[in-house]
C-alpha cells in the first residue's frame, strides 16, 4: 500500500471523536485517569463521549455505574482527593438535581475549605442542550447555573479541536472542571448537525488553555458573544450577513469559568454593538453576566442597547414548533444583530 501524503493538520474529526481522542491520550499517559458513568462502557456513551475506550482500557478504567449519580460522583470526589484523576459523566446536565450536592458542596469546595491542602483534580462531563424535541427534562444547558457556583471551572467547547484541547487541559487541571458538551456539536450521525461539527483536529498532544475565548470570526460592525452550539449558528448568521457587506465578529467564550471578560471588552470596544447568544435560560445567567461585564467597565462602549438572545424563562417545550421558537436559532440571532446595527 502506498502512503499518500496526508499533512497532519488536515485530519478531520467530529467533536465526539476529538473529545474521545483526548481522553484516550490522557489515559495512556496517566494510569490515575479513569472514566465512570452510566452507559460509558459497551454503549460508548449515549452521546458517543466514550466510544471505543472500553476496548482499549477495559472495564477497570472505563466503568459503567448504577444510576446513582450522588454515589459515583461522590466516589470520584473521594478518589480525586486521594490523588486519582477521575472523569465522571453525568449523562444529561438536566439530571444535576439528583447529585448537585456532591458537585457544588463537595467537588467545588473542598480545595477552598482545606485552605488549598486538598486538591480535587477531577472532570465532570455532561451533555447539554436541545433542538431534537427531548422535552423539559432532557434539553437544558444550565451552564449559567454551574458557573454561578464557585469552585469549579466550566468549559463548554463548540469546535472539534477545542473539544480535544480543552479536554486535555481539563484532565490535567488540578482543579475540578465541568466539561459540558452540547449534543448538537458532537457530530452524532443520528442528529441534525452543523457542518462545523467535523473539522481539522491536531494529532498528538494538544492542549487549549482553559479561560481564553476564541475569536471565531473577526468583524468590525457588531459582536456576537456566545458559546457552544450557538457559535455555529452565529457563524452561519455572520456568513449570511457578510453577503450584505456586514462585518460581524463572533466570539466563542469556550469557558464560562474563568470568563474571558477582556476578550468581550476588546470586541465590544471595537464594534460598540453586542449580541449575546445563549441556549441557557435568559435571566440570571450568562447573557446578563456578559452584558454586565461591559457595563461594569464602561457603559459608554455600547453604541446601541445590547441584545440578549436566549431561551426565554420557560421550560423547554416538546413540540418542535414551540421548541424552535424558544431556542436561540438563526432567525432570532439575525434579528438581534440587525437591531443592534440599528
Amino acid at each position: 500500500m502506498t502512503m499518500t501524503e496526508t499533512p497532519a493538520q488536515t485530519r478531520r474529526l467530529n467533536t465526539s471523536k476529538a473529545m474521545v481522542e483526548a481522553i484516550a491520550q490522557e489515559m495512556r499517559a496517566n494510569p490515575e485517569v479513569f472514566y465512570l458513568g452510566e452507559d460509558v462502557g459497551a454503549y460508548g456513551g449515549i452521546f458517543s463521549s466514550t466510544t471505543g475506550l472500553l476496548d482499549e482500557f477495559g472495564p477497570s478504567r472505563i466503568i459503567d455505574t448504577p444510576i446513582s449519580e450522588t454515589g459515583f460522583i461522590g466516589l470520584a470526589v473521594g478518589a480525586a482527593t486521594e490523588g486519582m484523576r477521575p472523569i465522571a459523566e453525568l449523562m444529561f446536565a438536566d439530571f444535576m438535581g439528583v447529585c448537585l450536592d456532591q458537585i457544588y458542596n463537595h467537588m467545588a469546595k473542598i480545595h477552598f475549605e482545606s485552605g488549598g491542602n486538598v486538591k480535587v483534580p477531577m472532570v465532570l462531563t455532561t451533555a447539554t442542550g436541545g433542538g431534537y424535541s427531548d422535552g423539559a427534562q432532557h434539553s437544558q444547558c444550565l451552564w449559567g447555573m454551574f458557573a454561578h457556583l464557585p469552585g469549579m471551572k466550566v468549559v463548554v467547547p463548540s469546535m472539534p479541536a477545542d473539544a480535544k484541547g480543552l479536554m486535555a487541559a481539563a484532565i490535567r487541571d488540578d482543579s475540578p472542571v465541568v466539561y459540558m458538551f452540547h449534543k448538537g456539536v458532537m457530530g452524532l450521525p443520528w442528529m441534525a448537525k452543523n457542518p462545523r461539527t467535523t473539522d481539522v483536529v491536531p494529532e498528538g498532544d494538544y492542549v487549549v488553555p482553559i479561560g481564553k475565548a476564541a475569536v471565531a470570526r473577526e468583524g468590525t460592525d457588531a459582536s456576537i458573544v456566545t458559546i457552544s452550539l450557538s457559535v455555529h449558528h452565529a457563524l452561519d448568521v455572520a456568513e449570511k450577513l457578510a453577503e450584505e457587506g456586514l462585518s460581524i465578529e463572533v466570539l466563542d467564550l469556550r469557558s464560562l469559568v474563568p470568563l474571558d471578560r477582556e476578550a468581550v471588552l476588546a470586541s465590544v470596544a471595537k464594534t460598540g454593538r453586542l449580541v449575546v447568544v445563549d441556549e441557557d435560560y435568559h435571566s440570571f445567567g450568562m447573557s446578563g453576566e456578559v452584558v454586565a461585564s461591559v457595563a461594569d467597565v464602561d457603559p459608554g462602549l455600547f453604541r446601541a442597547p445590547p441584545q440578549r438572545v436566549a431561551v426565554p424563562d420557560i421550560p423547554i417545550p416538546y413540540a418542535h414548533a414551540l421548541e424552535y421558537a424558544a431556542l436561540p436559532r438563526h432567525d432570532r440571532i439575525e434579528a438581534a444583530v440587525r437591531t443592534v446595527l440599528g
Partner: protein, 337 residues
C-alpha cells in the same frame, strides 16, 4: 419488625372475565406501541435523525412489559393515582388514559394532555391522576404526595409508583420507601425489572438479585414476581392494593419482565448478549396460548380483541394527526398558573 417477603405463589385460576380483561389490556398496549413504533420511524430518514418527523425526540416503548401494567392497573380505578417513568405508555393505557389526548401529546399537538408542551415522557392527566417523570426514580416522591392527600381526605384511594430496576439504586427510591412506610401511606411501589438499564445489566448495578428484599429495610412487604406472568402480577398487586386501601401502608412489588425492544428507538442493543432469544419470551403470545388452552379465548376472541385495539389506536393516531401544531406565538404560555 421484619418484612414479610413473600415469594410469588401459584394463583388459583382466575375468573374468565378477569383473564380476558388482562389479555385485552396487554393487546391494547402492544397495539399502541406498535403503532407508535411505525409512526416514529416513518419519517426519520434518510438515515435516522432523532429530531425529525411527526414524533420527534427520544422514544421509550414498553413492549414486553405489558404484564406489569395490566396486572397492576386491573385493581385500580381512575380515582387512584399512578406515577410512571420515561417508559410510561403501558401504564397510561392500562390505567385508562384517554388515548386521543395521550396520542396528541406524543405528537406534540394542541389537543394533547399538555398541549404539546410535555411529550411522551411527560404525560400529566388529571382525569386519571396520572403523571410521569423522565428522571430516574424521581416519580416515586410525588406518588407519596397523592397518597398523602388521599389519606388525609379519608378516602381509600391509593397511589401506584412505578420505576425500573435500574432506578432502585437511586436515592429517591430509598427516601420514598422509608417515608411511605413511616407514615403508612397508601402506596404500591412497583419495580419493573427488565434486566437492563439502557446497556447496564442489573447484575452490574444492583448488589442483590432481588429488589423485593429491599422492602425489609422499610418494614414493608416485598414480593417478586418471576416469569413476567400477568396473573402472578395480578395476584401480587391485589394483595398490595388491598393492603394500601385498608390503611395498612405500602408494599413493594418487583416483576421480572422483559424489554422486548431497545431501550429507546435507535438503540442497536449491541451490548445485549441474549438478543436473539428475546422475541421468543414475548409474554403476549404465551398468555394467548394459555387462555386458548383454558378455553377463555378462541380465534374469534383473539381477532375481536385485536381489531378493537387496532381501531381504538388508529383512531387515536388520526385524532393526533388532525390536531393542530401549537402556535409558536404561544410559547411563553403556561409558565405560571
Amino acid at each position: 419488625m421484619t418484612a414479610d417477603v413473600i415469594s410469588s405463589p401459584a394463583t388459583d385460576a382466575l375468573e374468565a372475565g378477569v383473564r380476558r380483561g388482562l389479555y385485552d389490556a396487554m393487546v391494547l398496549s402492544r397495539t399502541y406501541e406498535e403503532a407508535i413504533l411505525r409512526e416514529y420511524h416513518a419519517d426519520k430518514g434518510p438515515g435516522f435523525d432523532i429530531g425529525k418527523g411527526l414524533v420527534p425526540g427520544e422514544m421509550h416503548l414498553s413492549a414486553g412489559q405489558e404484564p406489569v401494567a395490566a396486572g397492576v392497573c386491573a385493581h385500580l380505578t381512575t380515582d387512584d393515582a399512578v406515577t410512571a417513568t420515561h417508559r410510561p405508555h403501558h401504564f397510561a393505557i392500562c390505567h385508562g388514559m384517554d388515548l386521543d389526548k395521550m396520542t396528541a401529546e406524543i405528537f406534540g399537538r394542541v389537543d394533547g394532555l399538555g398541549r404539546g408542551r410535555g411529550g411522551h415522557m411527560h404525560l400529566f392527566d388529571p382525569a386519571t391522576h396520572f403523571s410521569c417523570s423522565g428522571i430516574i426514580a424521581e416519580g416515586y416522591p410525588p406518588a407519596l404526595g397523592a397518597a398523602f392527600a388521599f389519606q388525609r381526605r379519608g378516602t381509600d384511594r391509593i397511589a401506584v409508583a412505578v420505576t425500573g430496576e435500574g432506578a432502585a439504586n437511586q436515592g429517591a427510591f430509598h427516601e420514598s420507601l422509608n417515608l411511605a412506610a413511616l407514615w403508612k401511606l397508601p402506596v404500591v411501589f412497583v419495580v419493573e425489572d427488565n434486566d437492563w438499564a439502557i446497556s447496564v445489566a442489573r447484575d452490574d448495578s444492583t448488589a442483590i438479585p432481588n429488589n423485593a428484599d429491599r422492602a425489609a429495610a422499610y418494614g414493608m412487604p416485598g414480593e417478586r414476581v418471576e416469569d413476567n406472568d400477568v396473573e402472578a402480577v395480578y395476584a401480587a398487586a391485589g394483595r398490595a392494593v388491598a393492603r394500601a386501601r385498608a390503611g395498612d401502608g405500602p408494599s413493594l412489588i418487583e416483576v421480572h419482565t422483559l424489554r422486548l425492544w431497545g431501550h429507546f428507538e435507535g438503540d442497536a442493543q449491541g451490548y445485549r448478549p441474549e438478543l436473539a432469544e428475546v422475541p421468543e419470551h414475548d409474554p403476549i403470545p404465551r398468555y394467548e396460548a394459555a387462555l386458548r388452552e383454558a378455553g377463555v379465548l378462541d380465534d374469534g376472541g383473539v381477532s375481536e380483541t385485536k381489531e378493537r385495539a387496532s381501531a381504538r389506536v388508529e383512531a387515536a393516531i388520526e385524532f393526533a394527526k388532525a390536531s393542530p401544531v401549537p402556535d409558536p406565538s404561544t410559547v411563553l404560555d403556561y409558565v405560571f398558573a
